[in-house]
């Protein structure tokens, strides 16, 4: 974490949240 700029950290978290949302929606809502 100590090497990670705040902006990149925010981008990674938002990106991961978006990926999780899409993956779980695809996994569960398409059943």
């Amino acid at each position: 974490m100590r090497f990670l700029p705040a902006d990149l950290f925010r981008a990674l978290v938002v990106g991961m949240g978006a990926i999780l949302t899409v993956v779980f929606a695809w996994r569960y809502w398409s059943l």
């Binding site: 990670l4 978290v13 949240g17 809502w29």
Partner: protein, 222 residues
């Protein structure tokens, strides 16, 4: 071997941003586990990785003051409640709400700064100490209920209610996720899943301190 490799990568992702379930959960489903068992196994697996990550960033590690103790207590009780809900609610509810909760948390994190500047800021230190645990309660319940994406949710709440920089916030997030996930560990029944858990913490969490930069480069491609 497949689960061990997945645990290693998941540990790194857990320590940095959270969301290791993106690879661990499908991996466990791929080897034939039902969703709820995979969820419980993933919950147990992230405990050691998050604990090491919380204290590896020296100088930003969580200090056990009143605020952190309040958050920890809420996390413990909320997770226990969430674990009971997981058992009590039908599976249709279980699978339907997860993407919605993660999407809301992501939006909250993305736009949290704007919300704070447009009136959501909680002014005094004392007000923050009292409000943060209340805001964290639903996240803790979710942590015991499912757990996937809890890191994003915790960061969203801490970002809204706290003035801390991203390293302090992430360290506190990791500690709170440990406490919440310890409750979820009770859901783990099958011993073979502990291979994933062991590797997750001992390899992934420790490696985070040394190879953060490589992880950041690798994440978008995954």
């Amino acid at each position: 071997m497949f689960l061990v490799a997945t645990g290693f990568l998941g540990g790194i992702i857990t320590a940095v941003v959270g969301g290791s379930s993106i690879i661990c959960f499908p991996a466990m489903l791929a080897v034939g586990l039902p969703p709820i068992v995979a969820s419980a196994s993933n919950t147990a697996a992230v405990v050691p990785a998050s604990l090491i990550a919380a204290y590896s960033d020296t100088g930003r590690a969580p200090i056990w003051n009143t605020e952190v103790l309040g958050l920890a207590l809420v996390g413990f009780v909320g997770s226990a409640l969430g674990a009971m809900l997981l058992v009590a609610l039908p599976s249709a509810v279980f699978v339907t709400v997860v993407p919605i909760l993660i999407a809301v948390a992501t939006l909250l994190f993305a736009f949290g700064e704007r919300l704070k500047t447009s009136g959501w800021r909680i002014g005094t230190d004392r007000a923050r100490s009292m409000t943060k645990p209340l805001l964290f309660a639903p996240v803790a319940i979710y942590g015991g209920y499912f757990g996937a994406g809890m890191g994003v949710m915790t960061l969203a709440i801490l970002g809204l209610s706290g003035p801390g920089d991203h390293r302090t916030t992430n360290a506190l997030k990791n500690l709170l996720n440990v406490l919440a996930n310890v409750v979820g560990y009770r859901k783990l029944h099958r011993s073979r899943h502990r291979r994933l858990a062991g590797n997750h913490g001992h390899d992934g969490g420790c490696a985070d301190r040394r190879i953060c930069r490589r992880t950041f480069n690798a994440l978008p491609a995954r």
